[in-house]
Every structure is written in C-alpha cells, then in structure tokens.
Amino acid sequence: MTTDTNTLLEVKNLSTDFVMNKGTVHAVVDMSFTVREGEVLAIVGESGSGKSVASLSVMGLLQPPGRVVSGEIIYRGRNLLALSPREMRDLRGNHISMIFQEPMTSLNPVFTIQDQLTESIREHMKLDKKAAITRAIEMLRLVGIPSAEKRIHDYPHQMSGGMRQRVMTAMALSCDPDLLIADEPTTALDVTIQAQILALIGDLRKKLGMAVLLITHDLGVVAETADRVVVMYGGQVVEQATAQDLFDCPKHPYTLGLLESIPSMADSEDDEPLYMIPGMVPNPLNMPMGCAFAARCSRRMPRCTQERPPLYEVEGRLLRCFLFDPSGEEGART
C-alpha cells in the first residue's frame, strides 16, 4: 500500500491484545489499511473478528485489559499512538468522531439532549453556551429531527431508537469531523430505520465531505454504501478489495461463504435452505496454528493447518489464503 496524497488515516501493522488471567487474546493481529479523504471504507467481519477493537484502537478508547501492542495509526501524518492523552482528546469528537451500535444505551439517561450535544461543541469549537445551542439545533435539523428546538430539551428516554441514533449522528458530526467511525450504526434498529440512518450517513458524507469508516457484519449494508472493503476473520485481514470487485468476484473462501449466506431474491424462489458457513469462530484464547479459517474452509489444503498464510497481492486486491500463493501450484486453481 502506497501512501498517496489524499490518505487521511493509515493503520500500519496494528496489533491489539487483551491480557487476561486465562491467557492473551490477540484481538487484532498485524492489521493494515488506509482510509482516503471522503471515501467509505467498510470493515466486515463476524462478531469477535476484531473489527470493533480495531476501531476503538483508532479512537484511543481502548480500556484495560485491552492494549495496542504494536503498529502505527497515522492520521494526517501524526502517529496517534504517540500522542499525549490531551492531544488525543483534542482530536476525538473533533477531527475523528464515532457512532456506536447501541443508540438505546449510548446516550446518558440523566442529561438532556441539549446538554449532551453542546458538550463537544463547546469543548472543541470554543463556542459560548448560546452559540453552542444554536449549532446543536442546526445539527439536529441536519439529521432530520422534527421540531429540533423543542426536542433538544428532551431526555433520551423520551425518544425512539431511530431518533436517538440520529442524535448520536448529530453529536458525532457536530464539530465537522474529517473521519467518522460508525460501529454497527444500524444493527440495533428496525429495518426501515436502518435504511434511513444509512441514507442519512451517506447523504451527510457527501454534504460534509468527510470519510467514513464503517464497521459492520452486514454485507448488505456494505454493498449499498462502501467504496472499498476490508474483510476480517479471527483478528486478521483476510481480504481487501474495492466494493465493486468484492461483490462481483469474491475470492477468499471466507468472503465467498459470507456472500452466499446473504438471502437474496433469487434464493427465495427455490426452496433451497440458506447457506451457512459450517463450524464456529475459533476460540480467541486458543487460535489454531495455521490459517484461522482452516477449520471451516471447504477448500482446505494440508498446509492450511500447518502455517499461517501471508497477505498476497492479487490483481489490486489483498488476500490471505494459500490458494493465491503465486509460487504454489494451487495458485492455478483460481
């Protein structure tokens, strides 16, 4: 990966561990990716794949026993891991902001929306109380909350889940961030609300010209919004490609499995049961020696359980699978 001029965030060889009495969980292993200005990069994986831990590492919100053990997170030329807590705070919520999965619990129940919304505005934009409230109302209108000047006095429990996620979005966008990290922003919502929130994020991205790092397990969401996709499994990147390439021609056996397990209109006509990847996510305390996916892979080879595959660069995409080893005879099979 070369660093081009419009790279906003570059994560290099990031490894994050959780050290516990029972052993160490390598939640993220040697992960690299970049986010360019204004693009949507999706990180896809099942729960436990390390995608959320990666995003929290970027935000500097990892709490013990979680710890970044190696790597660099470079944002506009500055390594975030080397910043002081104070410098990191100035960045968080200001240049890089985040929306979380659970709108129902992500807002503080004992403070009004106004209180929670103006907090970061006053902190980062150095506005006085009145100006901050004006800005907050403006943001609430932007995310489509009707009669914002009234609703701003509400407490979170007086709002629906969809409304709360809009408030969360307003909060995250209130200081004009360059990068928005959205961690499963729609998972907890009804399907119709999901589409609204996604459309909202896509809309605002264009309007405000920010980049979005979208964390999700839902390939359907990815197909609708992402420019490029990183697929994670067992803490590692297993495939990286443009969204177009990935959906047109998935290559990694895991990605294939994920795509096949999405219900589609075509499937529903015949009575074939929905495909499911057999087996379970490996125990993070006891990772297999070879490829993390080997146990569940339909195209497993003997070497897959013996050694870890590296990331191969194939036709402009990255793949962690021995099937694509250019030196191996198996490479021909693709």
Binding site: R89, G93, M98, S106
Partner: protein, 339 residues
Amino acid sequence: MFKYVTKRILMVIPVMIGVSIIVFSLMRVFSPDPAPIVLGQHATIKSIEVWRHANGLDAPVVTQYVTYVAKAFKGDLGTSYYTKSQVAAEIGARFPATIELAIAAILFATTLGVLLGVMAAVKKNSVFDAAGSLFALIGVSIPIFWLGILFIMFFAGFLHLLPSGGRINVMLEPTRVTGFYMIDSLTQGNWDGFKDAFIHLILPALTLGMYSMAIITRMTRSSMLETLGQDYIRTARAKGISETKVIGKHALRNSLIPVTTVIGLQFGALLGGALLTESVFSWPGIGKYTVDSILKSDFPVVQGIVLLVAVIFVTINLIADLGYAFLDPRIKYSSKKED
C-alpha cells in the same frame, strides 16, 4: 411529579400509625408494671393504685392509646414518671444536640464515602482500591463505641489535640436559639464558641459517621463501576471531553442515584448509633436520656423518643426517595404518565 410526592407522603401515614401501635403496646402491654419500679419496693398497694390512676394506666389499653395519640397531635407526649416534667420539652431540650451530631456525621460519611468510592472505582484493582476496600471492611466491623474509645485514647489521651467529651466549654456556650451550637454561636458572633463547639464535634462525628462512610464507600464503588461500564461513558469519552468531566459529570450523576437511597437509610442508622456515641462522648443529646429512661422504665419518655426518631427516619427516607426522582429524570417521566 406532584402526584408521586403526594402518594409517597400518604404512604407514610399507615407506617407511622403502625409504629405508634407497636411502641405503645410494647410499653403498656408487654412490659412489666412500672409502678413498683417507680415507687420503689416499699410502695403500698394503695399508693400504687393512686399512682396508676394519676398516670392513666388504669384505663383500658385502647382508651390509653387513643388518649395518647390525641394528645401527641397537640404536641403533648405526656410527663415523665419521675420528674413530672413534660416529655416533649425534655426531648426538645436535648434533641438539637443529637441532630447536630447526626448531621455532622452524615456530612462526613457522605463526602468522604463518595470520594473514596469514586476513587476506588476509577483506580480499580490498584493498591488504592485494595486499601479503600480494607478501610471500608474495618469500618463496618468495628463497634462504634470502641472506635470512639480508641479515638479518645489517641486524640485526647495521647496527642492532647481534641477534647475527650462534652459539647462545648460552658463558659463559651451561646444563648440557646436553635439549640444547634454551631449555628447559635455563629449568629451571635461568638467565634470562640463556634471553634470550641466544632472541636468538640469532630471526634463524635467521625465515630458516628464511620460505619455509614464504609457503607457509602462500598455502595459508591460498586455503583460507579457499573456506571463506568455503560455505553454512554464510552460515548462521552468519544466526544473528547476531559476524563474529569467524564467521571465527575457523566458517571457520577448516574452512580449517585442508588447511593441516595443508601444515604437516607444510613441517616436512620445514625440516629440509632447516636445512642452509643453520645454515651461514649458524654454528648448531651437524647441518647443518654433514652438509655437512662429505659433503665428506669420511664415509659412516656421512651415512647416519645422512639416515635420522634421514627418520624424523622421515615421523613429522611422520603426525602431520599424524592432526591432519587430528582437525579433520575426517568422517574419523573413515568409519574407524568400516570397523571
């Protein structure tokens, strides 16, 4: 909100009636006849009868109860069997001392308890946390009268820093207005009296507040830990506000909600503990008066004190409940819905 408050206040009434019945029947039905105790062993049957009639003890118990309650509403709690003085007046003279002590103790317990609890939770599993837990454990295990004795030994006997008992130097005693020496001396510009009252208050307040402080510390710690794990704390951190604000604003307000209930309950426990503390420090409140009256079977006094304490206890818990509603907007909302 109004409905919620009214409902809570109305719930107090049956409890108070019940308490008065319990106390009354304990004193008049289950107790041995006080007459021989009060009049001494040499009392004649005739004199006992006269005495019982004079004190209304020869009437049926139900009549006695109704009379008592009717008088109590007018502020008449009867007269002491011994001194013949008005119980209400006797209690009134001693009560401010007890309340002053209890308030000082709960202030100390709350301030320090919340502070220690928050720090222990924030620095979880640190040496500080362990020390705090040990401190809290000892606080709930040490008998308060022994703690008071140890304090006297150390601060009065060994260091000669603080007085070993009493409420104020009689020479400095302020003119009695509220009965709270800290307030009376201050409003009268009696600076030396204020200082002296304060110095006398330190050890008893620490002694009395120690148990409550331990409980509040434990409660705050566990409540804070739970709060710190909430999603909205992560949201607050993601906003880039300072950690002080994350803890002091977002986490503290939420974790104090359950602590208010505990503080209310502790205030009641303090009124009980005051009996012992006052006895150790010769504090001229109702504690010693209660114990003496019980030893002498001076039932009107005991009855009056227990009822008064119950009223205060129930009121404090009511206030704590309302404080709960104040801290947690979700409560107001649900009561609004009821309207």
